[in-house]
């Protein structure tokens, strides 16, 4: 009876977390597309809803598993009920901290909050040994690496785009030739990530040896299909400047990367809401924590649903604000940044690492800035992000520990 009450509480807090992700984080991922006018606000909302949900549902289980069992050392937890309280405390602390951060306008990551919360509650429940510190260190390392890798990929991609197309003596001919190739590349990476250890939920769990040729084939087919489509891109008005025609092609390419980002974001960040919840559900179903039950598909769908609701009720406003104010990010830049961020996030998702999509995207944007692609980047904001990052882990940790002790005092 009490367990069912906790499950309901967990569902409520999980839904709140998912709502929060949809309301705040999706806008970061998709706002660049609205800003560069590759997508209208309505189109962006539809694309985000569909691909966030798909990412959560089809590829969300890896990271969810990590949040559920990879941080807390389940062998050290005395009994299943304690585990439920740990997960509940983690959800609560992350939710409270995020609410505070949103109120104060702090650039706080959902992923950092939930990981800190799970670790804090785990230590409170089972002492210092209650947390798999090496795993936690590996996750924290990925938080440093993911923006750097995102930045590096974005730098290289944008250098390629400006070298091979924009700065070429005949950018028009070059963009006609290269945009189908880039479209094929996006498709290839996306399909590869889906097929390789991807669609476990559809029993389509292929090995690299089988996934690689298959996705290569899809990529090439996509590129060939894209040739006549890009051939139909019309001339831009003279007011769009000398590179209007080129940017129109990237506008279409950016629609693809926007889907890609939404998918990657859904796949990684759904874990922040349903990860702890999955722990509670497992106990509720089996009465034990060690049981290998996997992540139920309905739970991922539940998280995806929460994200979409957050997007529809609040996220669209944030997206509109971002879209209105990022006018500096032309489609060629948006494409490079989104491609880099989504690829990094998907690779981390494959490695079951909960990372911050927003930080990775910021890293990618800075990478383009380093390639002289952006008019002005305020590096003071980087400092704010860095300090919010440093503060989040201990705050979420301590808050979750305190909440665990409170819950334990009442229910144990």
């Amino acid at each position: 009876m009490l367990l069912t009450a906790f499950l309901i509480a967990g569902l409520v807090f999980g839904l709140y977390m998912a709502w929060n992700i949809g309301a705040n984080d999706v806008a970061n991922a998709m706002g660049t597309s609205v800003g560069s006018r590759a997508l209208s606000l309505k189109q962006a909302l539809v694309v985000a809803a569909v691909f966030e949900f798909a990412g959560a549902l089809f590829a969300g289980s890896h990271v969810t598993e990590t949040v559920k069992k990879g941080i807390v050392d389940v062998d050290k937890i005395p009994d299943a009920f304690v585990f439920v309280l740990v997960m509940l405390a983690a959800l609560l602390s992350a939710g409270i901290w995020l609410q505070f951060a949103t109120w104060k306008g702090l650039p706080v990551s959902t992923s950092h909050s939930i990981v800190g919360g799970v670790a804090g509650a785990g230590v409170a429940a089972a002492g210092i040994g209650g947390v798999q510190w090496s795993k936690l260190a590996w996750i924290a390392t990925s938080w440093v690496l993911s923006p750097l890798i995102g930045g590096a990929i974005a730098f290289v991609m944008f250098r390629f785009v400006s070298g091979a197309i924009i700065n070429h003596p005949s950018p028009r001919a070059r963009v006609r030739r290269y945009s189908p190739l880039l479209a094929g590349l996006v498709l290839f990476v996306l399909v590869l990530s889906l097929l390789y250890k991807g669609l476990a939920n559809l029993d389509l769990d292929l090995s690299m040896a089988r996934a690689l040729p298959l996705s290569l084939g899809v990529g090439i087919a996509g590129a060939l299909l894209a040739v006549p489509l890009f051939g139909r891109v019309r001339d831009a008005p003279a007011a769009a400047g000398r590179y209007g025609f080129v940017e129109r092609h990237f506008g279409w390419l950016q629609v693809m990367t926007a889907c890609y980002v939404a998918f990657a974001h859904g796949a990684n960040d759904v874990a922040n809401s349903v990860g702890p919840l999955a722990g509670i559900v497992a106990v509720w179903q089996t009465g034990a924590i060690g049981a290998k039950v996997g992540i139920p598909v309905w739970l991922l769908a539940f998280g995806g649903f929460g994200i979409v609701v957050g997007l529809a009720t609040w996220g669209y406003r944030v997206m509109e604000t971002i879209g209105k104010r990022i006018t500096e990010l032309t489609p060629s830049r948006g494409f490079s940044a989104e491609f880099a961020a989504a690829t990094t996030v998907l690779v981390c998702t494959k490695l079951s690492l909960p990372i911050s999509t927003t930080h990775t995207l910021v890293g990618a944007v800075v990478g383009i800035g380093l390639a002289r692609g952006i008019a002005a980047l305020d590096m003071r904001v980087m400092r704010d992000i860095l300090s919010a990052w440093v503060v989040t882990l201990p705050v979420a940790f301590l808050l979750a520990a305190a909440l665990y002790w409170g819950l334990a005092a009442i229910f144990l």
């Binding site: 806008a27 924009i166 944030v318 604000t321 952006i374 305020d378 904001v381 980087m382």
Partner: protein, 224 residues
């Protein structure tokens, strides 16, 4: 709000074009001023003088606005110092335009040999045309930004910059010729008038110089 929007700073490149437009509007008034001045239309000359002073002040305001919104924490595709130097040089064109009308109205009446007037106006026009060329380059800054300050776009701009240098040289030569002619007529022109006209010519020459420097600063941005 937890979005990452604040990472994007206010672009200084749009405002720098606005500033250049203001500066050029100011400089263009010089032609109206001397037309009225040589026609003996004192009221009109005074009006134009006033509007030049006002426009110069307007350009100053834009300049200050840009400087205020260019904090040290901004990471730009060009060196921040180059950008500020460009702004300073652009502003010099407005300052010099103001100086020209100030010097030309110091002594009244200030005579100028009638037969040399077309020559003077031609020099003024050429100097202003050099400024306009610099303006065309500044207006290219969006395309340059799109091209990350490199490639074919940059090469084209570089060739335009070289043309400005050539034009500036022509202006200097013409000024030297006119000044020599004025000194030859020292007795008829009068010493004080001669000194004032020489000063005006020098300022008109520096106008073309400033235009050339605008090009030079953009060149530095391209070579970073």
């Amino acid at each position: 709000m937890r979005n990452f929007l604040p990472i994007f700073g206010r672009s200084p490149f749009g405002p720098i074009k606005v500033h250049m437009d203001r500066v050029l509007e100011t400089a263009r008034e010089l032609r109206s001023f001397f037309d009225a001045f040589f026609a003996g239309d004192e009221a009109r000359a005074r009006d134009v003088r006033k509007s030049i002073l006002k426009m110069e002040h307007g350009a100053d305001l834009v300049k200050n606005e840009i400087r205020e919104h260019l904090p040290n924490s901004y990471f730009l595709p060009v060196d921040r110092r180059d950008l500020l130097a460009l702004l300073h040089t652009q502003d010099k064109i407005a300052d010099l335009s103001e100086d020209v009308v100030v010097v030309a109205t110091l002594k009244q009446p200030l005579e100028f040999p009638e037969d040399l007037r077309p020559m003077f106006l031609e020099i003024l026009d050429r100097s202003l045309a050099t400024c306009e060329r610099a303006g065309t380059i500044v207006r290219e800054i969006d395309d340059l930004r799109e091209a990350s300050f490199g490639g074919t776009e940059a090469e084209e701009v570089l060739s335009h910059i070289a043309e400005i240098g050539q034009a500036e040289h022509e202006v200097d030569k013409a000024i030297y010729g006119l000044a020599k002619e004025l000194y030859r007529r020292e007795s008829t022109v009068g010493t004080t008038s001669l000194l004032l006209w020489q000063k005006v010519l020098e300022l008109v020459g520096r106008l073309a110089n400033a235009a050339e420097s605008v090009g030079d600063h953009i060149r530095l941005m391209l070579y970073r």
